[in-house]
């Protein structure tokens, strides 16, 4: 029984004529925390969006928790229920309260009874320190509070993998810490996480491996310490010098 929960082999993707992913190979084990970094336009977001099929790859194979993602995938919703995603723009549902945001999918997709869903939701909200805002609406919360709610919302589906697409890039500096703290806690709890981010401090603290992507290819992948101490490729060195 392979420990691998995500397998990507020779994945290629084009947007029209523009190739955004070039022959990407990536394996992720359970409970692994991986940080993906790179300049903008390198394909990092596209990469993780392929994992829950918000984007479709044209060549190569992607296997998530034993299910291959192809054109003929049935029950894509089921696979998506096992992969949670946190977006840069939070994407909370503005017409529902935080609590309702969190219980919506469990009730209607997992067919959970309402009471049970609400209990679980309050638990998740407590974990990200936002339980007191449960009845408020997204528009009434700050950016950091919204993003933490979004994390709780994703966690309410009890996913096996959590994908983060630049979760702190849209936040004011003083709110970044609270979101990162929530993510650190999540990591400590054993979740498999793939995080696209520029927050290298977070990478150093939590990530098992760091991947550097540029122009659609994985340029370098190494365990965290080695990545920062001894970057092998020149491009990696250039990138690190610019952001550290």
């Amino acid at each position: 029984m392979s420990d691998k929960i995500i397998e990507m082999k020779s994945v290629n993707k084009w947007f029209g004529d523009f190739q955004v992913l070039k022959d990407v190979n990536l394996d992720v084990n359970q409970k692994q925390k991986i940080v993906v970094c790179g300049p903008s336009g390198s394909g990092k977001s596209t990469l993780i969006r392929c994992i829950n099929r918000l984007e479709e790859h044209q060549k190569g194979t992607i296997i998530v928790d034993g299910n291959e993602l192809t054109e003929d995938t049935k029950n894509i919703e089921k696979i998506r229920a096992e992969v949670g995603m946190v977006f840069q723009q939070f994407n909370l549902f503005p017409h529902l309260s935080i609590l309702d945001n969190c219980t919506l999918a469990p009730i209607w997709v997992k067919k959970m009874p309402k009471k049970q869903a609400e209990e679980m939701a309050m638990n998740e909200l407590k974990k990200v320190q936002i339980a007191d805002q449960a009845k408020k609406f997204p528009g009434q919360l700050s950016g950091g509070q919204q993003q933490r709610s979004a994390i709780a919302r994703a966690l309410c589906m009890e996913p096996k993998i959590m994908l983060f697409d630049e979760p702190t890039s849209a936040l004011d500096p003083e709110m970044i810490k609270e979101v990162l703290d929530a993510m650190v806690n999540l990591a400590k709890g054993g979740m498999t996480m793939i995080v696209v981010t520029h927050e290298m401090g977070f990478a150093k603290e939590v990530a098992d491996e760091v991947i550097f992507m540029d122009e659609g290819m994985i340029v370098e992948r190494a365990p965290t310490k080695e990545f920062f101490a001894n970057p092998k490729s020149d491009r990696t060195k250039l990138f690190l010098s610019q952001i550290l």
Partner: protein, 383 residues
């Protein structure tokens, strides 16, 4: 294979349902037509129509074909649409800009105009103008001449008719003027790009459009004469104007109502367009040294027009479609002439209604396509 099937099955079902519905209708139509002995075919279009039309832009009487009657109706519709569009645009732009005036009185008056004419059904407005307002106009014999040559009476507006000599030469001179203006504009643009010099293109264009047609008059043998309407007695108490062009009160009531009604919507479009340009644009433009006129021409209007033009074109379409209300006051537009009189005479319901709807559809689609092309061309590029 599952995903493909999930995509194909609903499509097949939908297609099947649509085909079934159409089949059901066609079958019934066949049966009904057979039972009543009506044949189906468009050949009747070349038959003699044997009915007259009150107002027509082209030569027509009962001995012409139904096809020609269709043309008469179509031209009348286009005439109303054309005049209506021009007037509604003028009024709409003025009212729209007035709505943004800092002057309380002007802004309120414009708002009053919009709220007033917008909330009353168009049909009611047409009826009002035709049955109530225009009935109050004087009889031909009592009418005062406006500027000496226009007569506004209960039987219509009588205007002088143009009589052209060598109209084609005048036509060519206008075309020549337009072509030379285009050439000069392109040349001026290139000149500006290469050397930075700016030609007074506007003045040159105005000059050309006046001089060339003028030359046509002076040396081209074009002459313009006016036929002024003259009061004539056709019965003991009945007078009419002869000569000149008579615009029937139906046409006047229709265009008046259409223009006033549609202008309210255009005013709102214009207002939204101009308000949509943030103040920062004007400030930024002024801060780089552009004159107020240049700010308007280079920064404000291009952006505002992008917002204004699509919904305004929609309103033009609505106006054209609303012109079909002419049937209510017996103005011989396409619907009344063709789908009304011709249909009653020949009983060819399906053929005639289909042709009529197809005509309107074509006009709408044509303008939609034009609009889409224009939108794509000027779309502000975004990520």
């Amino acid at each position: 294979m599952n995903s493909k099937i999930r995509k194909i099955i609903p499509q097949i079902i939908t297609l099947l349902v649509v085909v079934l519905i159409f089949g059901f209708f066609t079958l019934n139509a066949q049966v009904n037509m057979d039972n009543r002995g009506i044949e189906f075919g468009y050949g009747f279009l070349s038959q003699e129509s044997s009915f007259d039309v009150q107002f027509s832009l082209i030569e027509y009487d009962g001995s012409h074909s139904y096809a020609r009657a269709y043309l008469v109706g179509l031209l009348n519709t286009l005439l109303v649409a054309f005049i209506g569009i021009i007037f509604s645009t003028i009024i709409g732009v003025i009212v729209g800009i007035a709505r943004l005036s800092p002057n309380y009185l002007i802004e309120r008056s414009a708002a009053f105009y919009v709220e007033f004419f917008r909330n009353i059904p168009l049909l009611l407005q047409i009826f009002f103008w035709y049955f109530a307002a225009l009935r109050a106009l004087p009889l031909p014999q009592d009418a005062d001449a406006i500027f000496g040559v226009f007569f506004l009476t209960i039987k219509g507006l009588f205007v002088p008719r143009f009589i052209w000599e060598n109209l084609d030469i005048f036509f060519y001179s206008v075309i020549a003027a337009i072509i030379s203006i285009v050439v000069i504009r392109n040349y001026a643009k290139k000149l500006q790009e290469n050397q930075g010099k700016q030609l007074p293109v506007f003045s040159i264009s105005v000059g050309l459009i006046i001089i060339l047609p003028l030359l046509a008059f002076l040396i081209g043998g074009v002459s313009l004469d006016f036929e002024i309407p003259v009061l004539e007695q056709i019965a003991t108490t009945s007078f009419i104007y002869n000569g000149g062009l008579g615009l029937p009160p139906e046409l006047i009531a229709l265009t008046l109502a259409l223009a006033l009604y549609t202008a309210t919507f255009i005013a709102e479009c214009v207002r939204a367009g101009i308000q949509g340009i943030s103040k920062g644009q004007k400030e930024a433009a002024a801060s780089i040294g552009l004159t107020p006129n240049q700010v308007l021409k280079l920064v404000i209007m291009p952006q505002a027009l992008r917002i204004i033009i699509p919904p305004t074109t929609n309103q033009y379409l609505n106006l054209t479609k609303n012109s079909s209300l002419a049937a209510a006051i017996a103005y011989p537009d396409l619907v009344l002439v063709f789908a009304g009189t011709a249909l009653m005479q020949t009983g060819r319901a399906i053929e005639i209604v289909s042709i009529t709807m197809f005509t309107y559809l074509s006009i709408s689609l044509f303008i939609s396509v034009l609009m889409n092309w224009y939108n794509k061309k000027i779309a502000i590029k975004e990520k």
